[in-house]
Amino acid sequence: MVEQIVFYVFAAIAILSGVYVVASQNLVRSVFMFFVTLLSVAGLYVFALADFVALTQIVIYVGGVLVMLLFVFMLSSKDSLDNIVNLKKEALSANRIPATIITIALLVILIYAILLADFEQLDWIKSNKLLIEKAQTSNVHNIGVNIMGRFLLPFELISILLMMTLVGAAHLARKEPNND
């Protein structure tokens, strides 16, 4: 019972702060509210028995991605920080009504599809439900074994990709020579 209450509290925080991120007219507030969304989504991962993914989410997203977002935000939109009050509503967002229609249509379709597809009756989910009750230990050990075993090639490939991203981003962000 307590588990469910906490789960729905996290879900409500995630969705409400997500709405604020999307609908807010204040750029700074929406960037900072994104922190709250990411943290509460990490809380939802814990309820899906994915504690390691939740930790990774906090370390990489909240620690890395959001700091980078704020950094670029401060570097690039000084003007919008200065005269937040003077900005007209149209200056911040466009296509509001068509976007609302598209979004609500997609949401209705998704929810209808989820309701229609009865996932709880799938064979592999049914057969594993009993296993979940038994296996209450942390699965970090299992993840480590799997990464170093079956997923070794994707693991190495992703490290090469990160190296490429590092070099590419540093190359793109360098100062342009003056001769153009």
Partner: protein, 101 residues
């Protein structure tokens, strides 16, 4: 025990919010935030299904890879936004209408 459908509903709502941000915002950083919201929704889906995959943990491993890929794409995207700002002095993606080698 929370049922699988509730995870999927939350993920669907987050995904739609992300799409709304991508369509409406006139600020490249907020468009990027919308994309991140959508990626988070898909990770939530992966993790929710991985709850029932106790032995192999395939979904959680995929979620980890997706998180790393999202971080890499954000790094490159932010650098592109910075370069765009250096050229045009704004980060409104609608103003990006010139191509040059």
């Amino acid at each position: 025990m929370i049922s699988l459908q509730h995870f999927l509903f939350i993920a669907a709502v987050l995904f739609c919010l992300g799409i709304y941000a991508v369509i409406t915002r006139k600020n490249a950083i907020q468009v990027l935030i919308g994309i991140e919201l959508m990626i988070n929704a898909s990770i939530l889906n992966l993790v929710a299904f991985a709850k029932y995959d106790v032995i192999n943990n395939n979904g959680q491993l995929f979620a980890l890879f997706v998180i790393v890929l999202a971080a890499a794409s954000v790094a490159v995207g932010l650098v592109i936004i910075l370069n765009f700002f250096k050229r045009v002095k704004t980060i409104d993606p609608n103003k990006a209408n010139s191509l040059r080698g």
